[in-house]
């Protein structure tokens, strides 16, 4: 199934949601991603990824409370769903497996 696989950026976004815990809404996710990666994260890109993650069932969302900021509009907060957690863990395992099998590769010295 195509939908079950996590793309690289999807994984990053999902991880960021997890790291932001209860404060994970689109703008915050963008800012956080920029901080982690050093690249600019466009709202348009992030927004579509969030939408896709939700469609795949990897993330859940709910609307927050209205405040006077943002023109009175509510925020949509995201959290990682169970399936999302499974996918993240699996992806991490896959990577670690591969890392482990790279022969003679000195992690400390390589950088």
């Amino acid at each position: 199934m195509k939908g079950a696989n996590l793309g690289e950026f999807e994984e990053l976004v999902l991880l960021t949601i997890a790291s932001l815990a209860s404060e994970a809404y689109s703008v915050a996710i963008c800012d956080e991603l920029e901080k982690y990666t050093g690249r600019t994260a466009k709202l348009g890109v992030v927004h579509s990824v969030l939408n896709r993650l939700e469609e795949k069932g990897l993330a859940k969302s709910r609307l927050g409370e209205a405040t006077s900021a943002r023109g009175g509009k509510r925020k949509r907060f995201y959290e990682v769903s169970h399936a999302g957690k499974v996918a993240l863990v699996k992806s991490k395992e896959v990577r670690e497996n591969i890392w482990r099998n790279i022969p003679g590769f000195n992690l400390e010295g390589s950088i």
Binding site: Y25, S26, V27, G44, A69, R70, K73, R74, K75, R76
Partner: protein, 872 residues
Amino acid sequence: MKQQPKATPPRWATRFLHWYCRPRLLEDLEGDLNEYFERNVARKGVRSARLIYILDVLKFLRPYTIRKIEFFHFFIHWIMIGSYFKTSRRSLVRNKLFSLINIVGLAVSMSVGLLVISIVSDLYSYDDFQDKKDRTYRIITKTVENGQTSETNLASTSIRVGEKIKESIPAIEYVTAMRAGFSGDAKVGNSTVPIEATWADNSFLKVFRFPLLKGDLETALKEPQSLVLTEKTAEKLFGESDALGKTVRFDSTIYTVTGVVQNIPKLSHINFQALISLASIDAGHNDADLHSWANIWQNYVYVTFPETIDATKLQPALDRLSKQENKTLTNRTVSVSMQPMKDIVLGGSLMNNIGPTFAPPVMWTLCGLAIVVILSACFNYTNLSVARSMRRSREVGIRKIIGAQKSHVLGQFMAESVIIALLALVFSFALFMVLRKEFLDLDKHIADVFSLNISIQNILYFILLAVITGIAAGLMPALFFSKMNALHVMKDASSMKIFRRVGIRKVLIVVQFTLSLIFIAATLIGYNQYKGLVTFNLGFKTENIINLRLQGNKGNVLAKEIAQIPAVKGISQSMMITSLGSKHGTNLTYETDSSLVWENQVDEHYLPLHQHQFLAGQNFTARPEKGKESEIIVNQQVLKKFNIGDQNPEKALGKIVSVSGQQLAIVGVVKDFHYGSLENRIEPVMFRYSSEPDRYLNVKIVSQDLPATLESIQKVWRKVDKVHELDAKIYDEQIEEAYAQFSLILKIIGVIAFLAICIASLGLFGMVVFTTETKLKEISIRKVLGASETGLIYLLCKGFLLLLVISTVIALPVTYLFFDKVVLTKFPYHQAISISDMLGGSLIVMLLAFFLIGSQTVKAARNNPAKVLKSE
């Protein structure tokens, strides 16, 4: 310090976002964009923040954000249409006055629209019965005389083109050549019928679909002296009996009927009573001139192509043909091109055109006028609906609370206006039937050109017009209602700002009245100009002159008979009637100069009868036979053009000029007069003597009783000519007829002006009634507090009067400039625009409006305040 107002993102971008975005995604997305916007305002300034916001809104237009089309909503419209209909009907019945204003306005304006639709549809369906309409082309000609720069565009061409074109373009399917202008008296047995016919070659009936009822398509027009009749002509000549194979005599030539075609449909640009084979002209003597490349004045050539050929790419081949053939010409160049048959009627003016033509600008102007009138009625609807929105706000509120969405309310009000427009269409159709008859009777040419049939296609267009009108009228009110906030309305309807849209409404009223005033001022100015044209001092007298077309009879014989009538004061003969627009010209040579000069051939009575003024010299003295002339009379322009006798009339006398190979002495110089129409400047004109010009008799009468005189002339005519109908016209009426197109345009604009004023006044009336009704309490309270009646009337009127004044201030200068700078520059001999005319027109409109406003405000101001206030 005052706080800076908070920067906001551009509203239209937000609205656009609202429009396209899925409701589920909308709120947080808009919030995100707002957050970024605020951030960017702080960082980069308001301007670039707004720009980024707009770009972001556009960038978010992606498949996953776009709202799905909600079929369910459409479905709801269908379910609700019964309810819409019911509420619309109730609201129509409840407000009878406003419904009446709306329906009458829409019906009247749409009837004009229907008329224009039928006119345009007629024009486009010309020649539709020709099955090869799309692939038939007419060869048209452009010619320039050597040494001149102005080119003449002709619908006619040379027969030679028809003979040569197939060599240049082998792809041509059929070529046909025809020659217009045969007219003669057909004699069958003892009866004589005058007939106008067209010469045509044998392919004519293959190119054009004029179905043969009798006769053979392959050979009908092949042999010389073949004659093909239409059904109607055949019946005239032979009655019920079979015409095929019978003979018809014109003068001494005998023609054989080889075919009978169906009567020609009305919407055909080619029209004939009979066809004569083109070969008949050549029979007996081969006329070389007829087949020359320069003989381009009377012949028409049509070609058809197979469907696979793109005829637009064939011009180079025609250019090569023109170039080759032009080698044989010395005094002019001729070049031919193709005109699609479907463009002939709307193709603009070509000289020697056959069939009706209609200039596209005139057609578009007609459409424009109809649209203006319809829009005016739409404005009424919009104005009244928005103004009275308070009355229906509760209905909308309840609908919204029950669950109607914006689109539903929008749909409801659009449906309502479309229903009203369709209702109006029923009335307007009845009006259209009247208007149609009036239009066809307006001028005898109109009935020839238009049929204005009501076809299924036209009825569909009518319905389409009604629907579009309904949408145009209802859009603004519908948007207004759909935006209403349900809670606000239900809580306190009076808090609604009913006068919030006063600005737009005022603008609409001003536009309506400005247009009405422009129309009426244009009509009045136009009427004055037309009067000026008809009564213009032409340089000679036309009063009490009857012009009689001789139609082949001997002028002298008839003149002698007519002179017996007591009321006849004098008779002269001429080749043509001047000042009606037609022209005849011949080259005149003086010393080394040679140039075209307009001419008229007249007898010795003509100049005195028409009271032409001699500046020098006198009338013809010699009475030469044809071809042995020795004298000529010219006007001042001739002296000026050739510089004869230093332009001094006395010195010019006796000078010799050469015309048609004859040496003529100038014996008289007449004062300049109008030979052509008043649209042109006065040009050089000469009078030549002819004892029997054999075209027209000019009969000067003294009688006050014109019909009786005409009757006695008719009696005399009957004695001399038993075949032809008398064709006698009063000169002054002929001049009026020559400018009939102007009077026609005037009548049309006049009617439209009248309608526009009616509609605008209806709208104004509605607004005044509404305003006074809403302000009734205010007036009563003012009255109780001691306001005078005049004061109240002034208070109610001044707003409307101000609007009228603004319209006048806009309309009058616009009309004046339009006529002064655009229209009248085309008429060298126009009248000055009189300011009093224009003011008079606006005064009428103002008085009408004042009456409408006054009647209502006086009624309101005279109300008993106790009665009004008690009912609270």
